[in-house]
Subunit: 411 residues, 2 copies
């Protein structure tokens, strides 16, 4: 079965919010045998909404609509669907009672136009809403299914999980199971070249690469009749890819790099302290997103001024004078200094020029040094990055996390 | 002129990412006289992409496409557009040179399939890409315009701003000019109550409130024939709103709070150092996003362990023992300590429980203290926040920045 997600709301077309509902629904449907082929967004305009619905009904088996179920005049989803499918809207007493109760509970008077929310297309399956006033519904008509859900994610998600997922699971003959292989330290093209034969010979599972800033992902998707079967189809492909791409793979669970590294540190009980200059605390911020990290993360120093590099990290002022604050030598002393002063297993430092100012012909914007000190050893990585300040900082942070990852793996 | 944004990428249909490109582009186009009526998303499938493009060309004057310009086999946007419009793809030498230079600069070998990215539809306006390898383009054909941009936001945004915005501005007859008034320290309903009469009497410009995590924004939008006319319509409305909302307004330029505060510090030459516990470097990371901040930002300490609070900040171990690491007393000593040790004008500290673990009945998750030391004074703010770890950290950072802002304003 294939589906289209049709969101209704001028706020989406004005750019006030992103269509995170479509993302959420799209992430869940393949698991119950529904392939999402299209997303559409249209405003609160009945003519254009009707056109979009007609296109969707032509090309998709299921149309899942979000938004436009509110009490106001411009909320027209139900009216438009009913008209398009030739159904009447009838009062659903149970929904009306629920709406009245909702207002009573939240101590607010019920406006008259909320009654409109209790009218639903005849013969539909009602989806009750425990977190708001608009009920949703499922309508089967002419071999197609149209599902309407409210727009606020806090209302939509539980309704989707409690009613829509079981509805499709019940109908599913085949389903999709996916695995995401996340990699760092390799470009998209170089990665693809290593597995070109696998991509070209793919049938089931399929293999699809995509790139994000500083990292690449492979999505392996099996068409199957159960989760077990899907996992069985995917496993040998993942094994083969792991053989070819080795240590560049950092997650088979679609986890972000900082979470993988944070959990490795916690699991192996390796303590760490950070000395950041151009990343300005970004690496500390990422690592401290991981619950439980306080067991191994001791401290981070954002040593922006030269003085703070000397005072907080014990960098020799002569080193800065002679080689510059952005140099391999300074990075190494920063890493050693933070490790010694905090008494951790690892000390990691970053110094670089994130731009837009501060670059010279010898030391251009994008020049970054990352040093990792452990025992009496220090590793140092030099980067020459392109892009704006945010991109340089982000890719630097990913590289630093990757150095920690590889260090732990090679121990 | 009306437009449709057509995103290409199976990763969107699989729910791996949200369509934030459509949000960004939609937010900008009305300012150059283009109304967005539809968003569509389709996968890396040439047949379905062609169908979507044909629908878009029928109902929209301009079709802005994002994604599918990568070097890999499944990147088919250009090929499909060229075929649909009956154009040939021809090698664009300048783009090829740029791609080669990109690889040379970043010290990576160029894969053979990157050459494909330099082929563009004949007769198009080329949009060069300074942050990646895929050029974009603008094609005028049969009274319609098709624009192709790469999918990664860090590449798409500058290309859109530098080329697409001026392209439409040049064609615009009437346009929308917007001003965003950003506020902190007031709730959406309280803010709305103070200007309800203005909202109810709006015609041109219109006034629309919306809330984001920890802050609220008013969008004032004028329909006009020039930027000057629009600004003239907006100015008296902004003046009236400023009178009513005063110091809660932190930006009339749609700048994020950290940028406003960073620029205030730089302009007034007020030096600052940070001592962060539960925010884990988030405030340092935010402030160091501001170019030029190195003139006033001396250092930040992410003092996660109690030991680091004692060693790096000079907090009395007895204070931690007696009142706890999350207490007004510890926050005050942290702020004083970082100020004294770094010799800055301001020392700001944060300590709190971001969760999910670590809460007790006396000190629940969401309890946060922020202290700001200056001269021999200290101010301290206690917060009791709801939400997950990321939300608690973010709202804490916003509150800390707001304390700095109000402190500078009251000096």
């Amino acid at each position: 079965m294939n589906a289209e997600i049709l969101a209704v709301g001028t706020e989406l077309l004005m750019g006030q919010i992103a269509n995170t509902n479509a993302q959420y629904i799209s992430g869940r449907l393949p698991e119950v045998g529904v392939n999402v082929y299209y997303h559409s967004v249209v405003g609160d305009n009945p003519k254009r909404l009707k056109d979009c619905l007609e296109i969707a009904l032509k090309r998709s088996d299921a149309v899942i609509m979000t938004g436009g179920l509110g009490p106001t005049q411009d909320d027209l989803t139900k009216e438009t669907v009913a008209e398009t499918l030739g159904k009447k809207l009838v009062l659903h007493e149970e929904s009306l009672k629920k709406i009245e109760e909702y207002f009573a509970k939240t101590n607010r008077p019920m406006a008259k136009n909320n009654i409109k929310q209790a009218y639903l297309p005849e013969g539909c399956i009602v989806i009750s809403n425990n977190n708001g006033t608009a009920p949703g519904c499922i309508i089967e008509s002419g071999g197609k299914v149209v599902i309407m859900l409210p727009g606020p994610p806090s209302e939509m998600k539980p309704m989707f999980e409690d009613t829509v997922i079981p509805y499709f699971l019940n109908k599913a003959k085949s389903m999709l199971v996916s695995k995401h292989i996340r990699m760092i330290g390799i470009g998209e093209s170089a990665m693809e070249e290593k597995i070109m034969d696998l991509i070209q010979n793919q049938t089931n599972p399929t293999i699809a690469p995509y790139a994000k800033e500083g990292e690449v992902t492979l999505r392996i998707t099996a068409n199957c009749s159960s989760r077990e079967e899907g996992e069985g189809l995917i496993a040998p492909v993942v094994d083969e890819i792991r053989k070819r791409l080795g240590n560049t793979i950092y997650s088979l669970e679609d986890k972000p790099l900082y979470a993988v590294v944070g959990e490795m540190l916690i699991e192996k009980n390796i303590t760490i302290a950070l000395a950041e200059s151009c990343t300005g605390g970004l690496i500390a911020e990422m690592l401290t997103n991981v619950p439980g990290i306080s067991r191994v993360f001791d401290r981070g120093i954002v040593s922006y001024s030269n003085q703070s590099k000397v005072e907080c990290l014990g960098v020799n002022p002569e080193t800065i004078q002679r080689f510059g604050a952005v140099s391999r030598e300074t990075a190494v002393e920063m890493a050693r200094g933070i490790k010694e002063r905090s008494g951790t297993d690892i000390g990691l430092s970053v110094t670089g020029i994130a731009g837009p100012g501060g670059g010279t012909p010898q030391k251009p914007v994008g020049l970054v040094y990352i040093a990792l000190a452990y025992g009496d050893q220090v590793e140092c990585r030099e980067l020459r990055l392109m892009g704006n300040r945010a991109k340089i900082r982000n890719i630097t942070a990913l590289n630093a996390l990757d150095m920690i990852r590889l260090h732990i793996m090679n121990q």
